[in-house]
């Protein structure tokens, strides 16, 4: 399975929970702490993110950066660097 991760700007997040609704892996949740604006912000609660970008697409504040594991390239021949 391709793995991914998200980095959420906690000071920009307004805790609207749309990313939590959109996540097919249910890997997002709300934090226990509050941010500068007084909102509970979205955080990664499970380590099963696939980097599908759904959360970032529905985020109204563009607060989410999505990372995904690089796919191993076939053109590199037999010496394919195995991603971590």
């Amino acid at each position: 399975m391709i793995r991914g991760t998200v980095v959420i700007a906690e000071d920009i997040c307004k805790g609207c929970e749309l990313c939590i609704e959109a996540c097919p892996q249910e890997s997002l949740g709300l934090s226990d702490k509050i941010n500068l604006k007084g909102y509970r912000y979205a955080v990664l609660v499970k380590d099963n993110c696939t980097g599908c970008v759904n959360c970032a697409l529905v985020c109204p504040d563009a607060a989410i950066i999505v990372y995904r594991q690089k796919k191993p390239t076939k053109t590199a021949g037999p010496q394919v660097e195995v991603p971590i």
């Binding site: 991914g4 991760t5 980095v7 700007a9 000071d11 920009i12 307004k14 805790g15 609207c16 929970e17 749309l18 609704e21 959109a22 909102y39 980097g51 970008v53 759904n54 970032a56 697409l57 529905v58 985020c59 109204p60 504040d61 563009a62 607060a63 989410i64 950066i65 999505v66 990372y67 995904r68 594991q69 690089k70 991603p83 971590i84």
Partner: protein
């Protein structure tokens, strides 16, 4: 926003476009304006037209759109964004010009401008955010408010007898000969956001071909004025707004030879 360094073996697949400024948006949590802003600016970034795009901000919740979009912007009086945009396009015909308006701006006070700009076939993109209420002033009834929908000025629900029928202005402008591309999209799920991005891209590309006005309606939410959580508002949107405002293309440009 600082982007954290790449972890070994990982690559960035999604980040905020450079065409949005770092100013935090003032919109309520879950508001569709933020998504519409971001998707439009993503298209501008992908097409590489940041220095050749001029936007016209309206009066309404999105009145501060010029603070968030990192392109040339102009503020217009209430309802007149499309008229200002057509003036800019006539003076600078090589620029990409769009107006960005809500339903109180475009469909109420600006109905005259809207219809005549489309009828003249000005080569601009008109973005129309439809959430069925006046959001900025506190949730009063807009022309697009659904029948039976409760707002602060229709506390028992909108009635035909006193407030008339909801106005489908997108269907209205689709009949005009000056319209090139008329479509209705939404921003509440990842799928609809992807479709909206394609619609914006198509609309800006048609503008290059000078075929007429492109009109993109975005059916959006207003969790604050609807008095719901963002998730409830999106569910309500699907169940109530979509039967009256069905998504899809209303007019496509004639195939050029």
């Amino acid at each position: 926003m600082d982007i954290p360094p790449l972890t070994n073996g990982y690559e960035i697949v999604y980040k905020k476009p450079q065409t949005l400024t770092d100013t935090p948006m003032h919109y309520c949590p879950g508001c569709g304006h933020g998504v519409a802003h971001r998707v439009l600016m993503e298209v501008v970034e992908e097409m590489g037209i940041q220095d050749r795009t001029i936007g016209v901000a309206p009066v309404g919740c999105s009145v501060f759109a010029y603070d968030y979009m990192n392109i040339d912007m102009q503020e217009a009086p209430h309802g007149r964004a499309s008229a200002v945009a057509s003036g800019i396009k006539r003076v600078l015909p090589d620029r990409y010009v769009f107006s960005y308006q809500g339903d109180g701006d475009l469909a109420a006070i600006g109905t005259g401008e809207t219809i005549h700009v489309v009828n003249r076939g000005e080569n601009i993109l008109m973005v129309f955010i439809n959430n069925g209420v006046y959001g900025m002033t506190g949730g009063q009834m807009a022309p697009t408010t659904l029948l039976g929908m409760k707002t602060t000025t229709t506390p028992y629900g909108r009635e035909v007898k006193t407030a008339g029928h909801p106005l489908r202005i997108t269907n209205l402008v689709a009949q005009l000969p000056g319209a090139c591309y008329v479509t209705r999209q939404a921003v509440h799920t990842p799928t609809t956001v992807r479709k909206l991005k394609k619609a914006f891209r198509a609309a800006l590309e048609y503008q290059q071909k000078q075929q007429g006005t492109c009109f993109v309606e975005v059916v959006s939410n207003c969790p604050s004025s609807w008095k719901m959580t963002p998730a409830e508002a999106n569910k309500w949107l699907e169940e109530n707004m979509f039967p009256f405002y069905p998504l899809g293309d209303l007019k496509l440009p004639a195939q050029s030879n």
